[in-house]
Symmetry: C2
Amino acid sequence: MVNVAVLGYGTVGSGVVEVIEKNKDMVNKKSGQELNVKYILDLRDFPGDPYEDKVVHDFDTIVNDEEVQIICETMGGVGAAYAFTKSALEKGKSVCTSNKELVAKHGPELLQIARKNNCNYLFEASVGGGIPIIRPLNYSLTAERIEGINGILNGTTNYILSKMEMEGADFDTVLKEAQEKGYAERNPEADVEGHDACRKIAILSSLMMGKNVDSEKIYTEGITKVTADDFVYAKAAGKTVKLLGRSVAMGESEVLAMVAPFMIDKSHPLAMVNDVFNAVFVTGNMLGDSMYYGRGAGKLPTASAVVSDVVDCARHLGKVIMCFWDDADAKLADISELDRSFYVRVKASAKDAAVEMLGDDVLTVPGRDEDLVIFSKSMKEKEFAACCEKLGDAVLSKIRLY
Amino acid sequence: MVNVAVLGYGTVGSGVVEVIEKNKDMVNKKSGQELNVKYILDLRDFPGDPYEDKVVHDFDTIVNDEEVQIICETMGGVGAAYAFTKSALEKGKSVCTSNKELVAKHGPELLQIARKNNCNYLFEASVGGGIPIIRPLNYSLTAERIEGINGILNGTTNYILSKMEMEGADFDTVLKEAQEKGYAERNPEADVEGHDACRKIAILSSLMMGKNVDSEKIYTEGITKVTADDFVYAKAAGKTVKLLGRSVAMGESEVLAMVAPFMIDKSHPLAMVNDVFNAVFVTGNMLGDSMYYGRGAGKLPTASAVVSDVVDCARHLGKVIMCFWDDADAKLADISELDRSFYVRVKASAKDAAVEMLGDDVLTVPGRDEDLVIFSKSMKEKEFAACCEKLGDAVLSKIRLY
């Protein structure tokens, strides 16, 4: 029997207990032994809960119990979660987490402590809750040189963009609706400004490079400036708009990483990823393109991912599972030097200046002549920014082309 | 250093050598040691080939060399490949294969021999060459009760159906073109009649059930009867036609498995899988839906999958990697008892009889009134077959609805 403790009895934590209980036969068979939830750490009590007798309020009870071998950290945050994780790993207890913030911030350090203490720090649930992506990157694509990763990594923003596309509604209206339905937080900034996606692409980029990619250095732009009109023009051009986390390996130790809305062809596999679904599109030098699709969040999908890590830890007690993510920092490439094309919507009055600077690939949409839409020629990000500055107020909207 | 032998220096075999060489640094790092291709078994000589000095003609040289620890079987077939695999495993040498026919036919026996001899029989490349799917099923979805698998599992037929959809061409024309381009075999039966997809869904179903699903008992129907007209009607209804391998767990030891063309909504993720790409759509009781997408075949994608197995074997020398696939047979459910709806195209003259038997969900397409298309009410497969028999020659085409 392997004893497990769950830190935080919120949505994901209670899901972890539920998955271990509901799929007991499967989980125990795959673990090669019985999993037993011995403790649940939470500040609250849960009178009437079937697991109320397992609830403790003091982490020391857990970390000092030699019978506890695996800990699920489903608390979130980088304060107590960091201290508890570190202390558990130092005692040789493996930790499985859904906490992307902590993984993005302290991943390499925690992995190193785990290695030193012959235990494991696993984080399948930290990126794309219901999408097995960390394990495929670590164990399946081992014969590949991964060249790039492009992902729809946030369920809230993908839900909002999908609704905007399908209903022609504007950002604020859809955000409000999403908040009412519980798909968006009361304070939606972490999602709509791209910070959540940024942490996830930082984790994926770090695994791709085998080096640390600092999430705080990644260029990040959210979806708040995307308008209903942009979707009208996107549709007319056979495209849609998605918030993408993107990462390209530029050699051994340099990486180009960013989060921003992109206009993408409807025929691209990422374009059909709608609502709260997420997907990670991986390009390898031998395999070519592959894609991993599933629910990006949600209680049970995320909990299932955490429990798959618990199973892996149970199978590898006392053994270190390979994960290449060194403490050495990868260099982040300067995105302003990148060449690409842009969708730009300008006031019709600025047509001549816009066409001269950006090119003459003008999109004509019947009944829409007040605005002018140009798909720009390929140019550096900084050149494009300079053009936009010259055009000033005439620029109504701009989105990078995928 | 780990010594590897490659059996069969054809497309996949030479790809394996190429991947090990080209991605040497990555492969060696992930293996934790250096991989060395010591032998290549082939009946032919390869004068001028950079690896010509490694070519041997006698399997005994390989199997009796104690330095060889891992063997890649990329010969195909179930004759010599079976004998060689068995004999290698009995000597404790791990075998990695792309040979779906052999895996589908003798998988559980070979897995058992591997277990007994503390080595491994791995087959990531046997299903969806460039799609990591075997390892996710075995290692990632370990907290899941997998309820169903639906896959586009054959590149040739998906290429043909995609072309028929996009170009409005008929089956024979596209098949001929595919043969000229090398996307279809001179003798295309194994692909177009669904036998290749059948072996793959047998392997996936066996892993889902943990029991043996006999490919020879799986109902299998190919794409030769799908017409250009069917795509016209599918499009009008917002659908397309895909050859699917399908499998549903009906409890602990019964499985419903089949291969057939299905008409599927264009909004389903499987509908956007075009050309030679494949995808496997997996439904778990906690995760919900997830999908794995990539190249279904091709020299380097398939070879990369074989080499990822070699890396796994190198990391686990002397240790058995978990794979639940018992020798016990899963019972195959009788598909004739299944309820579903069907697309049926009948001569307009049979309208009254068809509507009475199948329902009145008639599809009207402007300019097409010589045929009548009905999406039938839900009915058992055998009831539908009886209706079609009554309608006789009036039935021009029929395809199951997904």
